[in-house]
């Protein structure tokens, strides 16, 4: 895990874990810590934990092997979580109705796609205004 710089706006955290479901909890932990750092309250932190879990699990289940990479940053007033993992040729991302319903509730905006040989997601949540 690395930080692009150490303080305030523009801070970014990058994390890589094996693309395996048992490591998604580490992504949840990191997201919780970062969300707290950016000033989200307990309920919002829980929403972001669920969001990153659902998105990470979805792309990991499509990934053949390799690493799940995560980048957490602030982008234009939004808390932004991006993730990607290599996807086996010919495989597609499957998002069922239950997962989509949850993501619609916990993200302001999200995207799941396959591009450049990787399954990718982006999740945005407006930063709290204090």
């Amino acid at each position: 895990m690395t930080a692009a710089n150490g303080s305030g706006a523009g801070e970014e955290i990058r994390l890589s874990v094996p693309a395996s479901l048992e490591y998604v909890r580490i992504v949840r932990l990191t997201t919780s810590a970062m969300a707290s750092r950016f000033g989200f309250d307990v309920d919002e932190i829980e929403n972001l934990r669920v969001a990153v879990d659902e998105l990470s699990s979805t792309i990991v289940e499509s990934a053949g092997s390799g690493e799940l990479s995560i980048a957490i940053s602030e982008t234009g007033g939004d808390f932004c979580i991006e993730g990607w993992a290599p996807i086996e040729s010919g495989r597609s991302l499957e998002l069922d109705q239950l997962t989509a319903q949850i993501l619609n509730a916990v993200c302001d905006k999200y995207e799941l796609r396959v591009a450049d040989g990787a399954a990718r997601f982006v999740c945005l949540r407006r930063l709290p205004t204090n």
């Binding site: 879990d53 659902e54 990991v60 319903q101």
Partner: protein, 110 residues
């Protein structure tokens, strides 16, 4: 009581209360750990319990996979004329049930 650790973040413990099996789900029920709950339910379906109570008071995290495991348990028990009850669902569990509109789908033990 029968207790098993499902990886570092989930412990399932099973106890008998009269004619019910109580499964305490302590920790995080997610895509990685949810299959173990399904396995436990499969084992309990072979036992002569009238009901399975899922004690969710210690469930610190639940996602769609965990929720699907609970829905599957409900369906399988109902199909065998038995009941699934939820006991003391934690805040994360309650939140996900509200988000998905499934609050009234389950019987919460009083």
């Amino acid at each position: 009581m029968d207790e098993q650790a499902v990886g570092p973040d989930l412990v399932l413990s099973v106890d008998a209360e009269r004619t019910s099996a109580v499964v305490a789900v302590r920790g995080e029920l997610d895509a990685y750990s949810a299959p173990r709950l399904e396995d436990e339910i499969s084992k309990l379906l072979r036992e002569p319990f009238d009901a399975v109570v899922l004690d969710l008071s210690g469930t610190g995290f639940l996602d769609s996979s965990g929720l699907r495991a609970i829905l599957s348990a409900h369906r399988r028990l109902t199909e065998s004329d038995r009941q699934l009850l939820l006991r003391a669902p934690s805040e994360p569990v309650t939140r996900l049930l509200e988000i998905t509109g499934l609050t009234d789908h389950f019987t919460v033990e009083k």
